[in-house]
Symmetry: C2
């Protein structure tokens, strides 16, 4: 599948690397084509990896991952262009963490809104699926690195889009019975507002290499 990954940070690199390894055709998008990190990544990631602007990464993609920093995601998606996102599955991995006031970060949207909903509202023709934003980059793309049947969440308004994302998660190593469908995109409030608990658990455990499992 042709996949665009927006963002050149740890999450973007981890997702793009994993998907390229799985044989997908990847374009890593940045503010401008020729971004140093994206060029370095593409040159290492093999023949099915390229780079370009945010718009370049979305142009021919069937599916797009938003791995930009949450505070800049809407700006990045605007640069990608609504037309380039129209009809496409847009996997929103970002958390709207605002570090501008120091630690701990706050959320720029929460309680009555979420980044996932903001993205869906501003790009109504994109098929937004919030996913993978509850684990760090290495757990995300290597779930086996943490033992046990820990889970990730998906939510979104488009059931077929969710099914495609669940399929792709299966390729990455998240079997369907470890993907919890929380319903429509407003559930992004739940997974984004989990961040403050995640951050405190990380401090207590002394590692970001953990996740939650459901006991029932």
């Amino acid at each position: 599948m042709k996949i665009g990954v927006l963002g050149t940070g740890m999450v973007g690199v981890a997702i793009a690397t994993k998907l390229a390894e799985l044989g997908h055709e990847l374009t890593m998008g940045a503010r401008q084509a020729g971004n140093e990190k994206a060029v370095a990544w593409a040159s290492e990631a093999g023949e099915n990896a390229g780079e370009g602007s945010f718009a370049d990464a979305c142009l021919d993609a069937e599916l797009v991952f938003n791995c930009t920093a949450g505070m800049f995601s809407l700006e990045a998606l605007r640069a990608a262009g609504a037309d380039n996102l129209s009809g496409k599955v847009l996997v929103d991995v970002a958390n709207p963490l605002d570090f501008s006031q120091g630690m701990p970060p706050t959320l720029s949207a929460c309680n009555t809104d979420s980044l996932g909903e903001q993205v869906q509202r501003e790009f109504p023709d994109a098929r937004v699926v919030k996913a993978l934003n509850t684990v760090n980059a290495s757990v995300m793309t290597d779930p086996g690195s943490v033992p046990g049947d820990h889970v990730v969440f998906v939510c979104g308004d488009d059931d077929l889009a969710k099914q495609r994302v669940i399929g792709l998660l299966g390729e990455i190593g998240w079997p369907a019975d470890r993907v919890v469908d929380l319903g429509d995109i407003s559930a992004a409030r739940g997974t984004e507002m989990y961040m403050p608990l995640w951050l405190r658990m990380m401090s207590s455990l002394g590692t970001p290499q953990f996740n939650i499992a459901l006991a029932r």
Copy 2:
């Protein structure tokens, strides 16, 4: 131990019943002494169970559980009286869920504040420990009703107070290795902001009878 439980709802009844069964001396507090539910509870719960006003419940207690609805907790604690809370361990089980705008509820404090912090700020001489607010009443007092090594959280500024609460949680059925200490009271933001995710998981799973375990 002499324990006051503020609140006559499901959580208050569950906590008070469990602690009375364990042999503690319980007083259930309500807005006014003679509250119908509190009287009914006390008459069923045996010799070491009584009832009274919020202030009555705190007066001789060594430890107080706030099991009132989060939106009314500060008012209830004011009625209990700062003097009656001074120096005492105050276990805050409430979530600041605001149902006034319908479903889903929002949080009346979040992101840059929490109910736990509000309580500690308004009652600086109480030794506030946020605990047990991430599970429903039946899981809270009967952790064995859900299989697996699922966890609960504590946080608070007073380490000795936390140790006492962790001890009491052990009596209830939460061994210390399943109680995650998240640090100071500001971590209450984390456990309270987990509510939207908890509510969506409850919808997806079709039951409130679940919890999360840590995988690491």
